[in-house]
Symmetry: C2
Subunit: 342 residues, 2 copies
Amino acid sequence: MADIARRPAHRYGSRPTMKDVAARAGVGLKTVSRVVNGEPGVTADTERRVQEAIEALGFRRNDSARVLRKGRTASIGLVLEDLANPFYGPLSRAVEEVARAHGALLINGSSAEDPGREQELVLAFCARRVDGLIVIPAGTDHRYLEPELRAGVATVFVDRPAGRIEVDTVLTDSFGGARAGVAHLIAHGHRRIGFIGDQPRIHTAVERLRGYRAAMADAGLAVADGWVSLGSTEPGRVREALAAMLAGPDPVTALFAGNNRVTVTAVRELAGRSRPVALVSFDDIELADLLGITVVAQDSAALGRTAAERLFRRLDGSGEPPARLELPTRLIPRGSGELPPA
Amino acid sequence: MADIARRPAHRYGSRPTMKDVAARAGVGLKTVSRVVNGEPGVTADTERRVQEAIEALGFRRNDSARVLRKGRTASIGLVLEDLANPFYGPLSRAVEEVARAHGALLINGSSAEDPGREQELVLAFCARRVDGLIVIPAGTDHRYLEPELRAGVATVFVDRPAGRIEVDTVLTDSFGGARAGVAHLIAHGHRRIGFIGDQPRIHTAVERLRGYRAAMADAGLAVADGWVSLGSTEPGRVREALAAMLAGPDPVTALFAGNNRVTVTAVRELAGRSRPVALVSFDDIELADLLGITVVAQDSAALGRTAAERLFRRLDGSGEPPARLELPTRLIPRGSGELPPA
DNA sequence: TAGGGCCTGGACAACGTTGTCAGGGCGGGA
DNA sequence: TCCCGCCCTGACAACGTTGTCCAGGCCCTA
């Protein structure tokens, strides 16, 4: 077989490099680099020859090599809980838009609410040398990020605060939103109000519960044991919790649903009941307007945008100390929250 | 000032390398590499020393350099239209899960239905040397991908076919789904049925329209000019199209909505009308069950999963020729599609 | 016409990692 | 005791790019 074509220009699965382009164009390697990067100091004629060679070979610069040289990757990582949850789609898209405006790409991953997986994703992103990180944390201890922060990886936590490290944080005012939502129910005459929220290790779940309790306390109302339920947002669990609140001699007349997942199950469940139960949802949902669901809306796109803007400001060298921003919620009455107690 | 600490271990913004770890552990560079990669041939004691140094310095392997050496990045790129659209969230998540099972990360980007932006994203991904690409195309000519395909980038198109290149494609049976949906309306007595779809350069929009026409033809029904409207899914446009169909002497008694964006606007619009209009939606929507919206559902997660699995099978060396898969739809009657003509 | 400066182009090292290969130490067998 | 062989370890090149630096040629001016 001897040595037919030891390194053909198009060996399958291999790609042309600047060296190949240079050879074909009959110029030096660095000249190709100059053309590819639009650097000055190349005559029009030379540039044309190089462009032709690039075109002919289908050359595409290898960014890994580039990154190795330059240090910056022009990419940021986003770790969230679940991209399939409609709350995170707009958030992710908003981050992407800001990144794009800064010439950066977005890598994202879903933690599935598992701290181990969150860390795994974050560290994988760091190994890729992302310039920045936006994290919606699942865990509560983020000291594993310390070396990254020291190395200058811009980091912003969103929706939930970081644990045991000091970083920029952008939150929704969960406490205030829940308090306002529950106060709304109380203003419409409710005295026995249930609360179903997410798992107690999730910051927003706890904050919203705190808001609920504050509103009840503000009105001088006691909270019975069976009215509060934190746990998985899995439909079966929510159904059970709701059934428990509606059974017994003193059933709740209204429900505050702690997030969009809880709400969809609650709405389905309440729709099957004869006695009307008032409902206020934390999180807006598509078509909730048509179903007349009163919500405490948070703007997930704004959350993402704000976080990304803060991240890029930091990358651009603003030396501000880490801050904590809180975005307001908006109560949107649509009927379900204005039902009188039955 | 002389030369105090020419290269301190923790210069801000720089990161320790294997060399630094090796120096601290008093071993050779390659030994560190061996430990980091779990390669055999390192004594327990040496390994411990290296691990300690890694810990102390907060070392994290630089994957850019690794990629440069090894050739594979263990990442795949996903280009879709808009991550904020609830149709794409589950799709993206499904792709991510498959990627994760194969140890790969996911980079994604939204084309915003702009072919230029689609190409820009795809080529940026290729410059990062993604191992594979999953594309929901906005454009109709993908010859720009030829060098990438030659170079061995596994590529799968989803939801819409590729233009002028031969690649794996995973589609939903838009034609069949629409035909079945419209036939359903006809079976419930409708003769004047409207169709509002997405822009005519989008493959699915055209296929669904074709399905609509086929169902009408099957029933021997003529389609009047004003009953069909393709265009942007922006609410204002959809409202106008719908208003036009419902005005005049012979208004439509039923509407087939070409996708989820059209449906949400149509449902809102129809809710305000006194005369009931039947509706079947292509695409399911959250809470559509409660609103009684009859839908032709497609499984966007299955679309993503199928595409990703095909992609990884290709990466694992299956030499199958490019194929075209079509996933079925499912008609779910919920009331709106079973209304009699008014 | 000669000299100087500018403009273009190329050689070379470096980025941080991994594959190759060779060397040294140690244990076991003769 | 000596030698062979194995196991562990490290030196070195290479991956593809960019920054630095230098050389050569051209043009302009004196």
